[in-house]
Symmetry: C2
Subunit: 365 residues, 2 copies
């Protein structure tokens, strides 16, 4: 969500602007359109950290040649149910959409399909690709490894990224279940927000270069930048008393499924440089509901489950209980009516890009 | 791990005792042998909460007729890559081993296979079934839902079980990566240990009937028993500031993959009665490494990853960094030499069962 009051822009107008920027950077018309759609979907779903605020990374990445807008990716392994792609530094967004589409097409025919991608770039929200499976009576899965910033249980040096896991499962009348979670407690973006606002970090988010609790956002970000030690904790926090070893285990699982499967880069070798993002690896899968049951029966039971969750009694002081994907669905509905919210900082950054690349900024709502 | 100094018994002798108990309870020789092996594997891997300490549950379950030792399970759905089984209240242990074996056999032929089981019983450690895939150059997956004891994010009533996720991935020379994690912060067994020892619960483990933090193990266990509200928190703790919504999301995912797939019971309807365990649902999958890469290359990269983790600098005050499955592997090695450790309480309980069923207790080491 935006930190401060900002502006709102019609979703289609924001996508159009973003697409024109990508066109200017040398993408094909289709890739520019797809990439814009995926980035803006993050903003619409209330995950601004992974949305159009990252457009600058693409401008830098493509300008410096680290991201290659039109490179030819190569299938390096193929079976009837799977394939592995070398992205060769291509853009993560449109390429990942194509890969997931092929996974879905194969699953349509065979019931299940999976793919891994190496040497790719930032792909936006993992949930976007998992959700592509929903209209096809399928469960969708997407993961990516990311630049190392996470501290292993009992450790002090970064060893893995935020390594998100997304799984989308269709229901009948209820909005779909869409889990889209970093396997770290928080992302770097959240720490940066705390730094900008001069707030101390909550206990359980991060450790310093000795592996001890830290609440100092500025020192943490500096330590992480120069890899002095210190970083963000896995889901479950420091040590193993609250299950930090489980979050760490999940982060490693994502590294295995994305990078060991694809022959890509994992662990502490996945590193951003000062000017560009790390090359990363992705994982995708889709499985048809009728591998298990009649899809209508499956979806009907999903509705029963999701309604049970939504109607659960809230804790004292809380308004309601919700399931994964419900808030994001509501955010998308809201954006359809009121436009997509952008922070003033993001809006200013877009203004700068618009000027540099001679693309007209969209109007605000 | 055992709470108190106890005894040690040779693994084979413990399995033999356990197998004879199951035989007395009416299992076939093969089912008794398999079930014993699976239960004792938990003790050998240092997960005593899921081991032979649960033998009493089987005695009660089978005696009261809730667990049916020789019921005929039924395949209710089948595709070339998948099947769904109605266990009809059969024993979870040996049945689950047979299901995972069939999943592996199908994956050998087709690259991937999956199965869901409904109306089953406690199946021991999920990791056992995931690990069955390891010798076959496959990744193995196993999950189960369990009796509801977990509180959804922002809620106050139990809505899901410990719902463990296990994934096993083979390496080359390094012990395999074996994630086997409850999606709650802790299991009920841990809370019971705190109650017995009169210790207050750490913050972040559980909430009371209003959904507020609680440190009172006795009140919590009573509230959970009568479903007054209150229960154990998902991985990530209370609220969403430390990612509790992620642990909750994972618990729901396990309920979907085990119960919605199989047409079984999920959510708060999965309930233990006073004398017996709840009927539960399982999920299994296996995928061949060569769906992605040459297995030797895959395993070699796994070794690189696991060695990077093992050799990571520990935090000040910590001895070492380890990966999922490493401690459990070391525990198994230790048990081979020194015998399987059992707490005095467990040993006494086994003595009582031995007497009731006229089976000789094994000697201690």
């Amino acid at each position: 969500m935006s930190e401060n009051p900002g502006v709102r822009v019609q979703r289609a107008h924001l996508e159009d602007f973003c697409s024109k920027v990508f066109l200017q950077l040398g993408m094909t018309a289709q890739d520019a359109k797809d990439s814009a759609e995926i980035l803006v979907a993050a903003d619409a779903r209330g995950i601004a950290s992974h949305g159009i605020a990252r457009l600058r990374r693409y401008v830098s990445g493509i300008t410096t040649g680290v991201m290659k807008p039109q490179v030819q990716s190569e299938v390096v392994h193929r079976t009837p149910l799977s394939f592995v792609l070398d992205a060769k530094g291509g853009g993560g967004l449109s390429l990942s959409k194509q890969v997931m589409q092929e996974v879905i097409d194969t699953a349509k025919e065979r019931g299940f399909a999976t793919a891994a991608v190496r040497d790719s770039n930032h792909f936006g929200i993992a949930g976007y690709y998992a959700m592509m499976a929903l209209p096809h009576d399928m469960i969708g899965v997407a993961m990516t490894n990311t630049a190392a910033l996470g501290i292993p249980t009992f450790g002090r040096d970064v060893l893995f990224g935020t390594n998100p896991i997304a799984v989308a499962v269709p229901a009948l009348h209820q909005p779909a279940y869409v889990l889209d979670m970093a396997t770290t407690v928080v992302t770097r973006g959240k720490v940066e927000v705390y730094e900008r606002e001069g707030k101390t970090l909550p206990a359980g988010w991060a450790v310093d270069s000795l592996g001890a609790d830290t609440s100092d956002a500025t020192a943490l970000l500096e330590d992480m930048l120069v890899q002095a030690g210190g970083g963000i904790l896995p889901l479950g926090g420091r040590g193993d008393s609250l299950g930090g070893h489980k979050g760490f285990g999940l982060a490693v699982l994502v590294d295995i499924l994305t990078a060991v499967t694809s022959g890509g880069v994992f662990g502490r070798s996945v590193m951003d440089s000062e000017r560009t993002s790390a090359r990363v690896c992705h994982y995708f899968a889709a499985i048809r509901l009728d591998m298990f049951r009649d899809p209508l029966a499956f979806r009907t039971d999903m509705d029963r489950m999701l309604l049970e969750i939504r109607s659960a009694r809230p804790a004292v002081g809380q308004e309601r209980v919700y399931y994964a994907g419900l808030k994001e669905y509501e955010s998308e509905l809201d954006c359809t009516v009121r436009g997509v919210p952008l922070s003033m900082a993001c809006w200013a950054a877009l203004g700068k890009i618009a000027q540099e690349l001679q693309v007209a900024l969209p109007g605000t709502v």
